[in-house]
Symmetry: C2
Subunit: 462 residues, 2 copies
C-alpha cells in the first residue's frame, strides 16, 4: 500500500463522501470502517486500493505525523474510538472529529489528548452529503498545531467563495463544534420560517401551487437568494407519481437531532434570547402530537377571520427576509456571548467567510453582512448595527404578516418570535418593574429604583 496523506475513519454517507472528495483532489486516503459492508461498498464505488480492514493497517499506511479524520456518530462512539486509537498514536499525531459532537465533549477530548501530545481538532462539517462530496463548509477548533498540519488538505477540499476557502480555524477547545451547533440552530430557524410562509400562502391565503412557486422564484432572484430557497423551489416543483405535489403527501411529523436542542439549552445557560430557534425546535417536537392535534382541531373552536394580503409576493418576501436577518442576529448574539464567556475571541468576519459557501445556511444575506464590514460583538446585536438600518424597511411587512396570522388563527410562531425579538429591542421600558414589585411583595426579593442606587424592600400591605 502506498503511503497515505490522511485516514478517514468511518465510511457512512458523510464519511465515504468526504473520503471521495479528498481522493478527487489527489490525496491518498487510508479508508477504514468497522463495518465490512461499508468497506466493501466504498471499495466498489471507488476502486481504491487503500481500504483498510484493521485500525493498525490504517495507521501503518499513514505518513508521519499521522492524521485521522473521524466521520462517526457523535457521542459515546467517539470516546470508544479514542480509547482504541490513542494508545496507538504518537505525540504530534492528529485526530479530526468531523461529527456533530457536543462542544463540551470536544473540549474535554481536546484536553485529554493534549496530555498525550496528540493534536485533537473538533471540526464542524456542514453541507450534507453533497457538501461532503463536492466541498463542505468546515469550522475547525481545538489544537492549532493539528489545524496547521491538516489545513492544506482541508482548505483544498472545502467549498470556496470568491477564491477563499470556506474552512478555517475558529476557536480553541470545542469552539469549532460550538459554531457548527449554532449554525444548525440558525438552520432550524430558517427552515421553519420558510415552512411557515409557505403554509400561510397555501392554507391561509389559499394561493395555488403555481402562484407560490412564482413568488419563491422571484424571491430567489432578490435578497432571499440562498441555498435553502433554491431547494425550496425544487420541493415546490417535485411531483408525486399521480401528478400532485409530493410535499402534500409527506406526513407533518418531524424528527430533531441533538444540535437544535443543544443550541437552546446553551442559550438558556447563557441567558440569550433566541425565540425563533426555540419555536423552530418546538415545532418539530410538537408535530409528534398528531393524534392530539386531530382531537384539538375538533374540540377547540376559534373566532378567526378570513384574511387578505394585497401584494403577497412583496409582503411575505419582506417578512421572510426580515425573519432570516433576525435569525442570524439571534445566532450571532449567542456566539458572541459564548465567545466572550469562553475566551474564544471569535472573528466574525472569518466565520462568515466559512459560511459563505458549502453550508446549508449560505445566502446572499451573509455576503451582505460580510460586506457591511460588521464587527459583531457581545455588546451590539446585528439588528442594531448601523449598516443594517435598512431592515426597518422590512418591518411593516413582518408586522402585517404576524398580525394577520393571529386573526386568521394560523400560528406562525417562529415569525412571531422574530417580530417579538425586534420589538423587545424597541422597549425602553419593559413591564418587569411590575414583576419586581410582586416578587418583593411575596418573597422580599428587593428591587432597584430608577431614581437612586441600591436595593430596596417595601412592606406592600401597609
Amino acid at each position: 500500500m502506498k503511503t497515505c496523506d490522511i485516514a478517514v475513519y468511518g465510511l457512512g454517507v458523510m464519511g465515504s463522501s468526504l473520503a471521495k472528495n479528498i481522493m478527487s483532489h489527489g490525496f491518498a486516503v487510508a479508508a477504514y470502517s468497522k463495518s465490512p459492508e461499508e468497506r466493501a461498498r466504498f471499495q466498489r464505488d471507488t476502486g481504491a486500493d487503500t481500504v483498510c480492514t484493521t485500525v493498525d493497517e490504517m495507521l501503518e499506511g499513514l505518513q508521519s505525523p499521522r492524521c485521522i479524520f473521524l466521520m462517526i456518530t457523535a457521542g459515546r462512539p467517539v470516546d470508544m474510538v479514542l480509547e482504541e486509537l490513542c494508545p496507538r498514536l504518537r505525540p504530534g499525531d492528529v485526530i479530526l472529529d468531523g461529527g456533530n459532537s457536543f462542544y463540551r465533549d470536544t473540549g474535554r477530548r481536546y484536553e485529554e489528548c493534549r496530555k498525550q501530545g496528540i493534536c485533537y481538532v473538533g471540526i464542524g462539517v456542514s453541507g450534507g452529503e453533497k457538501g461532503a462530496l463536492y466541498g463542505p463548509s468546515m469550522m475547525a477548533g481545538g489544537s492549532l498545531e493539528g489545524w496547521k498540519q491538516t489545513r492544506h488538505i482541508l482548505q483544498t477540499i472545502s467549498a470556496h467563495a470568491d477564491g477563499k476557502p470556506c474552512c478555517d480555524y475558529i476557536a480553541a477547545g470545542g469552539g469549532g463544534h460550538y459554531v457548527k451547533m449554532v449554525h444548525n440552530g440558525i438552520e432550524y430557524a430558517i427552515l421553519q420560517l420558510i415552512a411557515e410562509i409557505w403554509y400561510f400562502m397555501s392554507s391561509t391565503l389559499e394561493m395555488s401551487g403555481e402562484e407560490i412557486l412564482s413568488c419563491f422564484q422571484s424571491w430567489k432572484k432578490g435578497g432571499l437568494d440562498s441555498y435553502l430557497m433554491e431547494i425550496s423551489i425544487q420541493v415546490l416543483q417535485k411531483k408525486d407519481k399521480d401528478g400532485s405535489l409530493l410535499v402534500d403527501k409527506i406526513l407533518d411529523v418531524a424528527e430533531q437531532k441533538g444540535t437544535g436542542k443543544w443550541t437552546m439549552q446553551d442559550s438558556l445557560e447563557r441567558g440569550v434570547y433566541i425565540p425563533t430557534i426555540y419555536e423552530a425546535l418546538s415545532a418539530r417536537n410538537f408535530s409528534g402530537k398528531k393524534r392530539l392535534r386531530m382531537q384539538g382541531s375538533e374540540q377547540l373552536q376559534a373566532t378567526v377571520q378570513k384574511v387578505f394580503v394585497e401584494n403577497p409576493e412583496e409582503t411575505l418576501g419582506n417578512a421572510l427576509l426580515l425573519g432570516m436577518i433576525l435569525s442570524y442576529s439571534q445566532g450571532f448574539e449567542l456566539i458572541a456571548k459564548a465567545s466572550a464567556e469562553e475566551n474564544w475571541a471569535i472573528d466574525f468576519g472569518r466565520l462568515i467567510d466559512v459560511w459563505s459557501n458549502g453550508c446549508i445556511i449560505r445566502s446572499r444575506l451573509l455576503a451582505k453582512i460580510r460586506q457591511t464590514g460588521i464587527l459583531i460583538s457581545a455588546d451590539e446585536p446585528l439588528l442594531l448595527e448601523q449598516g443594517f438600518s435598512w431592515l426597518k424597511e422590512l418591518e411593516p411587512a413582518l408586522r402585517e404578516t404576524v398580525g394577520k396570522s393571529v386573526l386568521s388563527g394560523t400560528p406562525l410562531p417562529a415569525l412571531a418570535g422574530a417580530l417579538g425579538y425586534y420589538d423587545y429591542y424597541r422597549m425602553k421600558q419593559m413591564p418587569v418593574n411590575f414583576i419586581q414589585a410582586l416578587r418583593d411583595c411575596f418573597g422580599a426579593h428587593t428591587y432597584q429604583r430608577t431614581d437612586r442606587e441600591g436595593h430596596f424592600h417595601t412592606n406592600w400591605e401597609e
Copy 2:
C-alpha cells in the same frame, strides 16, 4: 435542654420562619445555624432555649429517630452539610431538604442516604416568608419512611384548604422538588402574564391608575381570584413618598433564580412545549439589556397603530384568565411527561390539593380544575379535557388582545405564546411536511408519507 421533636438547620429568612411556625404548634425545635448572627437573632426573636451552637448539640437534643429539616441554600452547601451530618446519623434518622434543590441532585442524595439507611426527603416549600411562618404549601418526595416519620409535624404546620393539609407525599426520588420546580415555572408565567396585561393597559391603552386598579379589583371577585391578583392590587395601590405610584419608580430589570431556567431545560430534554414559561424566563433575561433597549428604541422604527379595546375589563380579564389556564396546562403537561418517564405515578388530584393554599400560584382556578375531577395524564393536556371546554369562550378575548398588541408594537410574548400553544392544538396539519421535504433534499434524512407506511427518500433535483 428538653428533648426536641425536630431540628431546623439554617436560620435565614425561610428557616427561621419555618422554625417559628413549628414551635407555634407546640413542637420543640432544636434550632441551629452556622451563623452566630442568625442564631442570636433567632434566640432574641423567640426566646427559645433550644438554639444550638454545634451540630452535635443539635443532634443530642433530638428524640429518636432524629429528624433534621435543612433550610439552607440549594446546591453545593447541601452536599457539604450532608458530609457533616451523615457520619453522625443512624439508620432510620430523617433528613428533610426544604430548599429549592435541583431534583436530580435530590434523587442522587436520596440514593446515597438510602445506602446508609438514612431517610432522605426532598421537600418543595412554597409561600415565601409568610407562607413559611403561617403555613406553607409543601411537596414531599423521596423516602416514604422519612415522610411517615415527619408527616404529623409537616401536615400540622402547613397551610390547609377545606380542612385538608396542603402538604403531601408526591413521588419517589426527586419528585417533590420536581413539582416545586414546575410550580415556580408556572409562577414565572403567571407573573409575566399579569405584568403584560398591566403594561398593555397603562402604556398602550393609556388607562389611568384608577381605571386599572378598578379592573383588577373586579377581576379578583371573579374567575381570576388568586393570591397573585391579591398582591397585584396591593402593588397598584402602593404610593411612593411623593404620592405617585411606587411601581413606576421601580427599575425594569429583573433577576431570575435557578428554578425557571431548570424548568425550561427540563422541558427541552423531555420535548414538552411550554412557550409561556419560556417567554416569562426570557423577559427577565432580556430586561438586563437596558442600555441596548434604550439604543434600540431610538434606532428601530416601527409602523404601529393606536389601538382601542371596547371593553377592557371584560376582554383583558378573559385574555388573562385563558393565559393563566394555558400556563397551568403547560406546567401539568410537563409534570405528566416527567411522571411517566420517571415512573413517579403522580396523583394530580393530590398535587392540586397541595397547591390549593399556602403557595404562590394558589387560585380559584386550581379549585375549579380540582372540582372538575380532571384526570390529567401524559396523553391528554388540560386544555383538551372535556371539563374545560368552557375555555373556548375566552379565546376571542385572547386573540383580540394579542392581535392588537402586534398592531400597536407592544410585545406581549407570554400572552402570544399562550395563544400559540392553543392554536397549535388546533392544527390538524402543521407545515412540518415542508421541513421534512427540505431535510430529505439536503441531508437525505428521509420522510414518512400520509398514504403508506415506511421511510422514503427522493432525488428532488430530477
